[in-house]
Symmetry: D3
Subunit: 285 residues, 6 copies
Amino acid sequence: MFMHNKKLQYTVRVSEANPVLASLMLEQFGGPQGELAAAMRYFTQALAEEDPGRKDMLLDIATEELSHLEIIGSIVAMLNRGVKGELAEASLSEADLYRSLTQGGDSHTQALLYGGGPALTNSSGAPWTAAYIDTIGDPACDLRSNIAAESRAKIIYERLINVTEDPGVKDTLSFLMTREIAHQKSFEKALYSIEQNFPPGKLAGKRQFADLYVNASQGNGDSDGPWNSGGEWKRLDDVVGQIPLDGGAGSATVKLTEEEARDLSTFMQRLESRVDEQATPAKRH
Amino acid sequence: MFMHNKKLQYTVRVSEANPVLASLMLEQFGGPQGELAAAMRYFTQALAEEDPGRKDMLLDIATEELSHLEIIGSIVAMLNRGVKGELAEASLSEADLYRSLTQGGDSHTQALLYGGGPALTNSSGAPWTAAYIDTIGDPACDLRSNIAAESRAKIIYERLINVTEDPGVKDTLSFLMTREIAHQKSFEKALYSIEQNFPPGKLAGKRQFADLYVNASQGNGDSDGPWNSGGEWKRLDDVVGQIPLDGGAGSATVKLTEEEARDLSTFMQRLESRVDEQATPAKRH
Amino acid sequence: MFMHNKKLQYTVRVSEANPVLASLMLEQFGGPQGELAAAMRYFTQALAEEDPGRKDMLLDIATEELSHLEIIGSIVAMLNRGVKGELAEASLSEADLYRSLTQGGDSHTQALLYGGGPALTNSSGAPWTAAYIDTIGDPACDLRSNIAAESRAKIIYERLINVTEDPGVKDTLSFLMTREIAHQKSFEKALYSIEQNFPPGKLAGKRQFADLYVNASQGNGDSDGPWNSGGEWKRLDDVVGQIPLDGGAGSATVKLTEEEARDLSTFMQRLESRVDEQATPAKRH
Amino acid sequence: MFMHNKKLQYTVRVSEANPVLASLMLEQFGGPQGELAAAMRYFTQALAEEDPGRKDMLLDIATEELSHLEIIGSIVAMLNRGVKGELAEASLSEADLYRSLTQGGDSHTQALLYGGGPALTNSSGAPWTAAYIDTIGDPACDLRSNIAAESRAKIIYERLINVTEDPGVKDTLSFLMTREIAHQKSFEKALYSIEQNFPPGKLAGKRQFADLYVNASQGNGDSDGPWNSGGEWKRLDDVVGQIPLDGGAGSATVKLTEEEARDLSTFMQRLESRVDEQATPAKRH
Amino acid sequence: MFMHNKKLQYTVRVSEANPVLASLMLEQFGGPQGELAAAMRYFTQALAEEDPGRKDMLLDIATEELSHLEIIGSIVAMLNRGVKGELAEASLSEADLYRSLTQGGDSHTQALLYGGGPALTNSSGAPWTAAYIDTIGDPACDLRSNIAAESRAKIIYERLINVTEDPGVKDTLSFLMTREIAHQKSFEKALYSIEQNFPPGKLAGKRQFADLYVNASQGNGDSDGPWNSGGEWKRLDDVVGQIPLDGGAGSATVKLTEEEARDLSTFMQRLESRVDEQATPAKRH
Amino acid sequence: MFMHNKKLQYTVRVSEANPVLASLMLEQFGGPQGELAAAMRYFTQALAEEDPGRKDMLLDIATEELSHLEIIGSIVAMLNRGVKGELAEASLSEADLYRSLTQGGDSHTQALLYGGGPALTNSSGAPWTAAYIDTIGDPACDLRSNIAAESRAKIIYERLINVTEDPGVKDTLSFLMTREIAHQKSFEKALYSIEQNFPPGKLAGKRQFADLYVNASQGNGDSDGPWNSGGEWKRLDDVVGQIPLDGGAGSATVKLTEEEARDLSTFMQRLESRVDEQATPAKRH
């Protein structure tokens, strides 16, 4: 069960209200790399996790990410606290309010639609969606997804720090960024605690294709690197000449029943294409 | 520039039409871990990549993933080839068609809406969305995202193989699964070819919080593991007692202008909450 | 800050694994009336709430809803616990696994894509979206939204109880349903503690239109009720005869600059419609 | 059946073209609290409503909301009427057009993608989605949802009025806002005409949990109010000490078949976590 | 302004309740080719249309499509009228209700989430989205979009007719299908009433590329037809040999300021890729 | 199978970095009328196409559209190449970076979230969705959809050209625009090569309703044109007087079983509406 204490995990001190900066901060509130996505990624994994150690870790970090959602949401709420009263009380002239709302970012939507409250959207106003969550229920994959997600969140915080002048906001963002580094380390430890982590799953795959590098993009710019060269790789350069790689026809076929084949043949004949020249509307111009 | 050859990279041999199995296969066509997501993830990275070696690798693999999209789409098309003619030509009785469409999965939508063609949805009919793509334009992060994505795609193929009896489909799925293993290896090689890959970005974070493990979920089930114990970690157990971690008040504050403060005060008074007992509609019941 | 204890708020006892029932339960996990929507609705309101009493209440209930998300997610995880192992270990024949996955509901996607973990989708596999959240930052509105949301959640639980035979699941769902009743009461109390709760906001509107009932749907079936009849209502029956209600022209106009008017005129002439008979492709058939 | 008359329900008089203001107005055209959402909410309820009186009311109001969609859409069309011709006829220099498109809001997308026509998006360009509609087919709930929706729409109109200088637009928006007040009253009358409206549905819930207030958020800021105190409430403060509330173990369990248990055990062993220290890539940095 | 009459445009006679068939019918209620998409496509075009004749036509057809939305929604409501009462009143045993809800299609979500009311989703439960609407505000394009949309809607109705045994439903669907044919004809007439309808817009394009057919897919299966052969076409077969088609370098370049170039160079060096062999985690397995 | 050559189909020469212009260009990268939508529309059609000629054409054009996606994506990458380094290296002051990010359009999201890489969103940041793709698997419909789609894409390019001063960008956009014209012609040729292209499908519809024009929008502004007048049309003006068009009751009915009828009756009684005056909360104000 969750419990809550009204103290934040880290103090939020904002120097002045600024709704445009607020709208940028939403990237880590309701954006794809933000704290709700993090919390829900780990929480859904925890619920289905069978290993007690990983379950505990996932619950620890999910709970902390919810606390970070609270921190970043509090930053947004503080930055919007000026415009909230002005809009609700109509204290400025219409022209001044209009100007204040359309000065940049998507702050207009934050004010008009959400009344200055932190909304679960990214900085462009796209609503948060569970499509952001890539949990698939295999620990060796999910931990890799978590490592990647933490690294991305770290960078988004770094970018937000780079555009923020407010020292209090900067300080709190630095704390949040640092915690992503710590979480990334935890997830790496947990991944490498699984003996059979590569390839994930049980099936080994077809030996002859596991070390093959297909040079599908050619021409000026072809390069060598450890990802396609060296003792671990066979490289296929004559791609068109070698396909299909199974030595078959390279076509797609299915065995149909007689009835299915007859119906399909009727369908094809009804819609077959004449190959002689056709007058068409567009031709006239 | 892209070119296309009508031969597939791997031959597709389907034993019999089966629209329900087709709808399951969509997971790798228009699903979150499917081939369009893979192709677009790498392609968008390639366009902005400054390093020539990584750019070449990303284009190679993006191009191959498009070719895999073609293979899995061809499997779907073959599996639906029976129902396509039957529905378009209305060759069965209505009752038989109705039965054939509602026998499981989401094959009904595939038939009614897409006419048996492969649709860019997952196996539940959710349309593909770019929200699946987690590219953020930092190579040390994007490569981690790619490693994770390949591992997930490998598992989805494994699950599809496990539910497929058709030997031809199984064989082609095994090829596709194996290629994900190869791609995962390439991306790992590329990640470890970047010297400064951890933490990603330039900012180091706050030292005192980088090795801290916050035991936010407590009670029966607390566990130790390399992700929270050992020489690299300090652990915080008395969480409520220690917050906020900066030693401040743990509150969120903003400095408002006089006008902002006045408006907000008006807003608060207008909407303040009486704390005495209120009769409410629900009470009557 | 959030804290977590590994005990659930209410014990979950599931009699047997059943992935189809699991997929139905998702309605309250990742569906529009489910627990994540509830938690996020109240949590986002709490962050921007200025009234200390309401803020406390919103945090109390948001935190409890997160704990309910954990309970319903645990039910899903238990119901899927059988298929999870079978699919990952491929212990059944392909035909048996295929049958078990396509027996109804959207359990196929839950298994293939999420590996049996609880996914943030509704029972049809539509991913959770913040578009479900109707917070607008005005307490007199948001509390009404909360009352309505709790009433809806109560009914979805009632429907799930009605289709569940498992006594343990039924018992836990009854607990969750009851809590929605309690929350609805709290939100009603809070709404009626705001003196100026109707109409919400500051503007009173145009007097002559506030008590007008427009009988826009006519013909057989027109009815009287307290919503359109009695001393509080004026009713408009001759709608077409009376529009526009402001006594003007009923048209839409804008004053354009000379340049704008000239451009628009060019645009209109370029695309104007000939009214004489036209031969068209479709005519030939 | 619907019929249409080319007169608007209320005259629209716009003083000058202004594409940025147009983009703000979209909030009530294709936004979550806008007129399409209103019309579709009531229309879908009307189609399934069994009570003749409520069905009539829902059709009356749905039809009027469609007429309001027409009014707000006409405001948008008028405000965009200048840029429409300029962009289509390329009458300005590229630099002037570019400046006029990027002066604020999301007017750039309105011009480039929709050619200045009113689009079914909110003011940030997020496409309208049926996820906005919370109809669940129970009148006692749906009427509460309608009351809440009308109150929200009222406030969004108030905010738009507060940022609009144009007297004609202001006047029309005031009309639309007032109608939301009238609709809210109708829906309240209809709700209280249902005797058994609380709790909605048939099931009464578990007595011991219906009057319980769970103080899940604690610490500085805990407050009393009619929503958690007084004769109608029992309050639970020692939350961690009392869970689970059923007196059980607070765990989640399921009875598995022998085969299921064996598969799960294999799965767990294959993926179990070693708890000794692991060297990991991130460690090297 | 819209008006409504409670008579339907066409009588709906359903022989027996059938929630699975209801869920298929949703394709034309809240699906991409359904009646809401049609109504909103034409209605948004009408609001911005400058030509009075086309505006009138678009309003006529939009209004009729709303009336068709009412008809198809009424079919859904009738087909669900049995399950609605059973679920709300819990009149069947839980097992019977469970069976009745999971017998096919997505009828489970229709019952649980929407209580049997017609929902604005497609037959797989994907919520309606304005992304279905392709209006761009150019009449010569929008009319083509309308022609295509009507042709698609006609086919979806045909498919629904083919799976429906109920003679009353079949009759009403035939009416709706026929109206799509009539609308398609109207839109064709309107398109060919615009003199300058091809190419749409004002700009003519680059002469040398307007009649060029690029044979980008080669190999076995290359075909000739009026779309790539004959007097109107030049064909490019040696694609790789001829690109770029402008005779330039085929690269992408931008002139950067000195500062921009310096920053980019720092960025590249920081993240450059070592090309020597790297030990990676995956290698160990 | 797809192959790639690192030369672009057309050279991209950008005069100076400009992230706001980049964000406008996204309309043709990840927008509804953009190149990914085009490529995927034709590619999905190709996979299911039975006619070899059309299949070849669809693959040719799909492949070329992918190459156009590469071109427009390269334009975006070049326009963002300045801000990418500045943000990653934090070379400007925070205030300068903030200003550069919030100067218009949605360039702030492009920088913060995507690091300046081309993202699969439209110019307002709405993620690309397969809901944009209207393929239904009937060639006579799909070709009409393709014709319409090409005409729309042509106009979006024209609008982008009109707002672009950069001569290199203008030149490349003109190439891309021209290719849409060529593709539109190919699809028209292919449509008119199908003998039975109108009405699409096999069913002819109800004769008496195929030539009927329903004048559903009346009043001032009613117009005549070839779409509603002349020898091919019967026109219905007295709409309310004539409905339902089948001469029936205009109602919706279903035959219920006795049990279903009884449950429904219980449901109706439980929720029936009292028609006498009700005191309601809103009344008090």
